[in-house]
């Protein structure tokens, strides 16, 4: 008897039996099946006629059933040994303090290598090219097609659907507006490369935005690796101007922000460099939105004359 449904490699849930214990309590078995176990020599063995009793915490093995199947038992000292019909030792159980016998059996969780059609629901789900169950349900419920049985919504998730259909989870703005003073949080991003070099021969610009005042600074770069030098200049400029210190820098964690010298500079100046998750520009929203505004303005300003 066991309470773990996942242990069963085969379960016939049409069987319903009542089991009466010594104290007159009754439990209902919700099925009967096979459980695969590991033998000590590494081979597999199978326990048949195992009852599935939901909510049962411990697993029980019936000596009566073992006797029925031709096994013999022998009590030796503080242990009980079970032999099969050829007198081979198959189990050894030590007696515990409550005078019950405890055995350790490791169960093989069944692995299925071939895709198995679990039921009619899943069959139709697969036949319909892994359509989602709500639509399948609707098709059958509203009788939109002929020959489709009634479909129940399953609890499991289809592996093939996950590999084929999984999309990025929707983004919720979890980063709050939390700067309470000037220069507490600085957002930064690099924009470019532009196809045309500027008059000064640059192809990128880097933006710095103070979260509290939303003031924007930009610097031009010929190459992305100039970000470090520019950040040092910017830091000196704004700290002198405002008298505050930069305490956090939020960037997209691009290579230009994560060089060793940049990290060393940040840590030695007490700047907490927060890089957002890779390929998640949504978390760098303030910088990215400002870039959009900027490039929009640039485009229309260059177009107007």
């Amino acid at each position: 008897m066991t309470g773990k449904k996942s242990w069963f490699s085969k379960l016939d849930d049409s069987v319903n039996r009542k089991i009466r214990f010594v104290d007159n309590s009754i439990v209902c078995a919700a099925g009967i099946g096979k459980v695969l176990i590991h033998r000590k020599d590494g081979k597999k063995a199978c326990i048949t006629d195992v009852l599935y009793v939901p909510n049962m915490r411990s697993n029980l093995i019936s000596i009566g059933q073992l006797l029925q199947k031709g096994y013999t038992m022998k009590g030796v000292a503080q242990a009980m040994k079970v032999f099969d019909s050829k007198s081979m030792l198959i189990l050894k159980a030590l007696m515990s303090k409550q005078r019950t016998f405890k055995i350790n059996i490791s169960v093989i969780e069944d692995k299925c290598l071939l895709s198995e059609v679990k039921s009619e629901n899943w069959l139709w789900h697969q036949r319909y090219g892994h359509i989602n169950f709500k639509d399948l349900n609707m098709l059958s419920e509203k009788k939109m097609v002929q020959g489709l049985p009634k479909i129940k919504l399953p609890d499991e998730v289809c592996d093939m659907c996950c590999t084929g259909k999984q999309a990025r989870s929707s983004y919720n703005a979890i980063i709050p507006f939390n700067a309470t003073s000037k220069l507490e949080v600085i957002h930064s991003d690099v924009c470019g490369p532009f196809e045309v070099k500027s008059v000064g021969g640059n192809r990128y610009f880097v933006t710095f935005i103070d979260e509290f005042t939303r003031k924007l600074w930009i610097y031009w770069l010929a190459k992305k690796d100039g970000v470090f030098g520019v950040f040092k200049k910017f830091r000196l400029l704004v700290q002198n101007e405002s008298g505050e210190m930069i305490s956090r820098l939020r960037t997209d964690g691009g290579g230009e922000y994560t060089s060793n010298e940049f990290n060393d500079f940040c840590s030695s100046n007490g700047i907490n460099h927060e890089a957002t998750a890779l390929y998640t520009p949504q978390q760098n929203g303030i910088s990215e939105r400002k870039n959009r505004t900027l490039v929009n303005l640039i485009r229309s300003m260059l177009k107007q004359k």
């Binding site: 507006f177 000037k182 532009f194 196809e195 045309v196 070099k197 500027s198 008059v199 000064g200 640059n202 610009f205 103070d210 509290f212 005042t213 939303r214 003031k215 924007l216 600074w217 930009i218 031009w220 101007e241 405002s242 400002k290 505004t293 900027l294 303005l297 640039i298 300003m301 260059l302 177009k303 107007q304 004359k305």
Partner: protein, 135 residues
């Protein structure tokens, strides 16, 4: 305008964004929140508009033109304008500039850019930007 001026456009855009409303700040511009002074925008001119820069006495002879046609490409924090010389492709800063925001430089046909100094300098709509102060 030639696309190589995107850098100048970016600087002007920054200048303008800092003087524009932002969702998070209530009834204030970023510039005001940063430095505490309400910024003035009287000196703003259309980006890329034509302007006439006064040529300093040291740089010209007695009978030379007193102005030079330039293109406005930005602002300087001291109140000067950033000007682009389309002939020499250089950038200069000058405070003594007159603007004509209705005209623009013909980038495709450079020969057509002949501007009559008398006509523009007597135009009442042009303002003397040099007398205005920034911030």
């Amino acid at each position: 305008m030639p696309l190589c001026l995107w850098g100048e456009a970016a600087a002007s855009a920054t200048y303008l964004i800092n003087r524009s409303p932002t969702k998070k700040l209530q009834d204030k511009t970023p510039e005001e929140t940063w430095c505490g002074v309400k910024p003035s925008v009287q000196h703003l001119k259309i980006f890329g508009s034509l302007c006439f820069r006064h040529v300093p006495d040291q740089l010209r002879r007695k009978l030379d033109d007193k102005f030079q046609v330039m293109i406005m490409v930005g602002y300087h924090s001291t109140g000067a304008y950033k000007l682009y010389d389309p002939n020499s492709k250089k950038i200069v800063f000058s405070k003594d500039v007159k603007f004509d925001e209705t005209k623009c430089w013909n980038w495709k046909d450079k020969a057509s850019n002949n501007f009559d100094s008398h006509f523009y300098l007597s135009d009442s709509e042009t303002e003397d930007a040099g007398t205005e102060e920034q911030e």
